[in-house]
Symmetry: C2
Amino acid sequence: MSLRPWDPYEQDCPSRRLLDRIGDRWTVLIVVALDPGPQRFSALAARVGGISQKMLTQTLRSLERDGFVTRTLYPEIPPRVEYELTTLGRSLLGPLRALEEWAVENMSEVVVHQGEYQATH
Amino acid sequence: MSLRPWDPYEQDCPSRRLLDRIGDRWTVLIVVALDPGPQRFSALAARVGGISQKMLTQTLRSLERDGFVTRTLYPEIPPRVEYELTTLGRSLLGPLRALEEWAVENMSEVVVHQGEYQATH
DNA sequence: CAGGATCCTGTCAGATACTG
DNA sequence: CAGTATCTGACAGGATCCTG
């Protein structure tokens, strides 16, 4: 029973791999934070509020490894490091913005449902 | 420094709340699995390969709580339960399909980058 | 400044057994 | 069939201290 060449029901399909890759708390937020342009480590930490230094480093490393982000070290004193989206990384912004728009338009309704559910359970 | 009414840099914005809600391993996969129409518990378990019964139950409960899914119990013997996307749930399919298309088109490139990174580090 | 290393903790998530 | 309950290991992720 094969439906499409890459059906999300298959465990090893692109959709699953993407979810495994960006389906964590921080990756998406960092990609969006890099939208306006290159950012320094400390600037990113400030934009993505609530992230620990460790998680920021870790997530940036895997984003770099997967080709979403480039890391540029300027050997000055004190050292400066800038992170920037690659073409691949920027291409992901489109779908992410669609999700963002959905959130802005619909998340209030989710809260309403949560309240109703609370009332009846 | 307020940029837009709901900036993802803010910790309490719709985007963050959505990510907190669907940013786990299973939620998105279950929503997509419900795309074709109402599904029974066991059918869902089969489609979403690799999910444990516990996680399926848990994720369905929160999807129901948030108004993405309805749960209908048919008091037969043996009992039958069907899960179906609500209008809200179906509205999420659009943005998700955009992500799916991105994955199909670009995930192979991610794998290439992973290989290159491995080679240089 | 941008992290590396270490320790510590909660939560996620699987396995198993039981029930209406 | 479609769950619930309980136990358990694994790991995500925070706090803290240290360095080129």
